[in-house]
Each structure stands twice: as structure tokens, then as C-alpha cells.
């Protein structure tokens, strides 16, 4: 427990003192949302267009920041220092929690901004929020383990996107569909998809937890 806590604390301290990294991800999210609203110029969109746009912004903001937590360890040459101090399991859980917290933050910024500036009003707000967070949880889960792999492969930006995209696509598919339903207020909307996303996150997180050490330790 303490190992996880100490690592989380360390990651937050390092990321927030190096303000540029965190700022870039949030800035990207805000700028993209604002750009879209400017271009949209007051046109009203169908619910599924809104859903697609929101998740595109969320996806690319994620691609910008989610691998960073592992790539930074390699780039800043702290990987060996970290490896010596803590078990792979502690490190993985703390990185996963960091990504979940970070991405939840990003989504919490994107969604209200988007809804406000593009004047979309979800008719079933609880479903909208549940989908946004469970989709984010799923994306954070996949990208943590993939970020670890990419960091060992030299961390070139496009490799991370290439690896993540096909695995995130089903999450996006489900999230977009559900978000559209929540905006539309369709009667068929239910929480089955949210459960699916949470279950998906759980499975990916469990497998990643078990397999992480084979990526991290020689």
C-alpha cells in the first residue's frame, strides 16, 4: 500500500512541478474543444455527431498524455532508479491509478466545455456522465500497459497511437453509441454498455497487472 501511495505522490509531484507536460494535455483538450465550437458556429448537430466529436477530442487528448507517465521514466533516465526501489506490481498500480486520475481530469474538463459551447444538452445526464467516466476508465486501463511497452521500445510517439488505436476502437464504439443515446434520451438507453466498459477495464487491468513485470523486468 505505501509503495503505491509513495509512487503516486512522486508521480504527481514530478508531473506538476514540470508544469509543461500536464499543461500541454489540458491545453490540447481545451483548444480542440474551442476550435470545434468556433467552426461549428452555432449549427445544431445530431446527437451521434456530438458523441463522435466528444470522443474524438477525448481520444486525441489521451494519446497526447497517457503514455507520458512511462515514457518520462525512460526519457529522464529514471527507469533504473525506479526499478531498484519498488516492485513491478506497486509501480504498475500506481501508474494505472495516475492515468485514471489524470484522464478523469481531462474528461471532466472536456465534457462541460463541449456541452456548454456547442449547446448540447444530454437528456439523460446520468448516463452521459457514467459513459464518459467508464469509457475513460477503459482507455486509461489499456493505455497504461501499452505505454509501458512503448517506453521500452524507444517511445516514439506514433508507435503508441498505432498500438492503442485498434484496442481502444471498441471502447470508442461503445462509448460513442451510448453517449449519443444519452444525448438523445432514447428509451432503449440503459446501463448495459457502461457495465461492459467497466468489465472491460477490469479484465484489461487484471491481465496487465499480471503481465507487467515481464515488460518491466529483464
Amino acid at each position: 500500500m505505501t509503495g503505491i501511495y509513495k509512487n503516486l505522490r512522486k508521480d504527481f509531484l514530478v508531473e506538476f512541478r514540470n508544469r509543461s507536460a500536464v499543461n500541454i494535455s489540458f491545453a490540447f483538450a481545451v483548444i480542440t474543444t474551442m476550435s470545434i465550437s468556433l467552426v461549428a458556429g452555432g449549427t445544431s448537430f445530431e446527437p451521434h455527431i456530438h458523441a463522435i466529436l466528444i470522443w474524438m477530442i477525448i481520444f486525441f487528448s489521451g494519446m497526447n498524455g497517457l503514455a507520458h507517465t512511462f515514457i518520462r521514466e525512460e526519457d529522464e533516465k529514471n527507469a533504473l532508479f525506479l526499478r531498484l526501489a519498488y516492485s513491478p506490481e506497486d509501480i504498475f498500480i500506481s501508474k494505472l491509478l495516475f492515468n485514471i486520475i489524470f484522464f478523469t481530469g481531462i474528461i471532466s474538463v472536456i465534457c462541460p466545455l463541449y456541452l456548454f459551447f456547442l449547446q448540447a444538452r444530454p437528456l439523460i445526464p446520468q448516463l452521459f456522465i457514467a459513459t464518459a467516466f467508464s469509457g475513460g476508465l477503459a482507455i486509461a486501463s489499456i493505455t497504461t500497459i501499452l505505454g509501458a511497452m512503448v517506453s521500452k521500445a524507444g517511445g516514439k510517439g506514433s508507435l503508441f497511437t498505432v498500438l492503442s488505436f485498434p484496442l481502444i476502437l471498441p471502447v470508442m464504439w461503445v462509448s460513442i453509441t451510448n453517449t449519443a443515446l444519452s444525448i438523445e434520451g432514447a428509451e432503449s438507453a440503459n446501463y448495459r454498455n457502461v457495465l461492459f466498459l467497466i468489465a472491460f477495464s477490469g479484465i484489461i487491468a487484471c491481465i496487465s497487472y499480471l503481465l507487467f513485470r515481464y515488460i518491466w523486468v529483464e
Partner: protein, 222 residues
């Protein structure tokens, strides 16, 4: 155990059966014969990936001198899987065009196969990016295991959950096959033949890998 040599007999038999022996289907006519190629090819793609996943699990669990050979085997089966996925996609598109009028229909099952294809192309990107890294085999194995876990989602669950134009697959809710006897026999023979083909190709690729490894070991001993 040269059972895969049977493919020399079985494959020509299947070609004969699929084109000449089996009757045409009711609505599609002769075009339906693509069934005897599309289904087995998709089946082999799935098998190849399961083998890759299982091989990867063994690589992770058992870390010994055999690991290098296992890593080569995982790579080989993934490559075969990739080729057969492309074939499944292409034969599927041809059939889609014949049945529904266009090659691409935004059908969940078609999209699922494309995603599967992307997952395995990503594997090859990861593998080459890890060139020279000692842990390459293990990291790629982790990726394959992850892919193997996610794969059933695409191939079996999502197309079922979302409405699809794709006809019910062999593993369907009815648990019945809507084919005539002769067509069933042809289909199953074809699946057998293609499975043997997979084993045949896999076997050859593995033998080449084994020789490569042997050469490297001999060179190191000098």
C-alpha cells in the same frame, strides 16, 4: 507425424467439391460457393491467433533455452494469422458485394475483422520497434496475450450485440445449420483442409526458424 501432408490430397478434393460437387445455394446461386473459402479462412485466422496467444503464455511462464524458438513460433503463427485475416476480409468483401450489393457496409462484423487486422499489424510494428532489445520476445508476448483476450470480444461478442447484416455463423443461437447435407460436408471438409494447410505452412516456417537459431548458436560457440 506427417498428418499435414494430407493437405496434398484434401485441398484439391475441396476445390473439386466446392466448385463442382456441392449444389448451388437457393438464392445466391453459384456465388455462394465462396462460403467454402471464406469460412475456413476466417476460422484459420482465429486459430492462428489463439495459437499465438497460447505460445505467448508459455513463453511468459517458462523462461528457458526454448524461449527463442517459442518466440519465433509465436511470430510465425501471427504472420500466418495476419495473411488469413486479410484473406477473410477480402473473401468477406466479395461475398458482401454479391449478397448486399457493396464491398463495404459498415457492418459490425466487417469492422471487427478490420480491427483485428489492425491489432496484428500493430504487433509487427511493436516487434520491429523492439529490435535489439533483450526483452523483445517477452514484451511482444504480453501484447499477443492481451490481443488474444480482446479478440473474442470482436469476433464473437460485438457482432452479436449489435445488429449485423452478416448471416448467422456456425456458432449461432439456433445451434442449427441452415445448409443442405452436401454443402455441410463440403464446408467441413474445407475447414479441415485449410486447418491442415495452416499446420503445413506453420511447420515449414518453424523448421526454417529452428535452422536460423541453430546457425546462430554455432556461430556463438566459435
Amino acid at each position: 507425424m506427417k498428418i499435414h501432408r494430407l493437405v496434398y490430397i484434401l485441398m484439391p478434393l475441396v476445390i473439386y467439391m466446392s466448385f463442382l460437387w456441392a449444389p448451388s445455394a437457393a438464392i445466391l446461386g453459384d456465388a455462394s460457393r465462396i462460403l467454402y473459402y471464406h469460412v475456413p479462412v476466417a476460422w484459420v485466422a482465429v486459430i492462428a491467433f489463439i495459437v499465438a496467444g497460447v505460445e505467448s503464455i508459455i513463453i511468459i511462464i517458462k523462461n528457458d533455452e526454448q524461449s527463442l524458438m517459442r518466440e519465433e513460433r509465436a511470430y510465425n503463427t501471427t504472420l500466418i494469422g495476419l495473411v488469413f485475416t486479410i484473406l477473410a476480409l477480402v473473401t468477406g468483401a466479395i461475398w458482401a458485394n454479391l449478397s448486399w450489393g457493396s464491398y463495404w457496409n459498415w457492418d459490425p462484423r466487417q469492422i471487427s475483422i478490420v480491427i483485428l487486422l489492425l491489432i496484428y499489424i500493430a504487433y509487427f510494428s511493436l516487434n520491429s520497434a523492439l529490435e535489439g532489445n533483450e526483452s523483445r520476445g517477452k514484451i511482444s508476448s504480453v501484447y499477443l496475450i492481451l490481443a488474444m483476450v480482446v479478440m473474442p470480444l470482436f469476433v464473437f461478442i460485438i457482432p452479436r450485440v449489435y445488429d449485423s447484416l452478416h448471416p448467422d455463423t456456425i456458432i449461432n443461437a439456433d445451434k442449427k445449420m441452415h445448409l443442405e447435407e452436401a454443402m455441410k460436408i463440403t464446408l467441413f471438409t474445407s475447414m479441415g483442409a485449410f486447418t491442415l494447410l495452416y499446420i503445413y505452412i506453420y511447420n515449414i516456417m518453424n523448421r526454417i526458424s529452428a535452422v536460423k537459431i541453430k546457425i546462430r548458436e554455432k556461430r556463438h560457440a566459435l
